[in-house]
Symmetry: C2
Subunit: 104 residues, 2 copies
């Protein structure tokens, strides 16, 4: 799926970390939502409210998932899941284009 | 208008200048399109194909419009128009969140 049809897009971006991470919210007819975002190189710690599916559209990152000591490499076309109410860490070495789905 | 309803969003971002400018395409039922994007600090020269309306959602920039020697300051909530097949220059001092409409 290269595009989302019949959706609502919130105009204003979400901006984190001085603009190193930016995203926009896409809302679906079934009430679900996703964000489409960009992460620039850096190291980040994120916490989840809902469970998340992070789909990497382009670029490459390392992720340390909750409860793991290991860093796992994720490339464009790959994805990873994060449970609700959890903390995960990312190392971004080059620009990452992503789609994040929330399971609420 | 804080959101766009019943639109199509292209998942993959457009990435320019090593990620300093990124945007996503939003397509409307009438065949028109807009991009929602982020520009990080820097100086940029853009050329238009279609005429454009650049609406600054957040941040501040200086623009030098085609045929002008002057730099004009544009702030969040303001906008400017650029004719088709023209070149314009921007100086971005802090992150700019924008919506660009194309008149094709």
């Amino acid at each position: 799926m290269t595009q989302f049809d019949n959706v609502t897009v919130i105009k204003k971006a979400n901006v984190y970390d001085g603009g190193k991470v930016t995203s926009r919210v896409v809302k679906f007819a079934d009430g679900s939502r996703k964000t489409l975002g960009i992460m620039l190189p850096g190291e980040y710690t994120f916490d989840t409210a809902a469970a998340e599916l992070m789909e990497i559209l382009d670029g490459e990152l390392e992720v340390q998932l909750p409860g793991s000591d290991n860093w796992q490499t994720i490339k464009g076309g790959e994805s990873f899941n994060v449970p609700a109410n959890a903390i995960f860490k990312l190392k971004i070495h080059s620009l990452v284009d992503y789609c994040c789905s929330y399971f609420e």
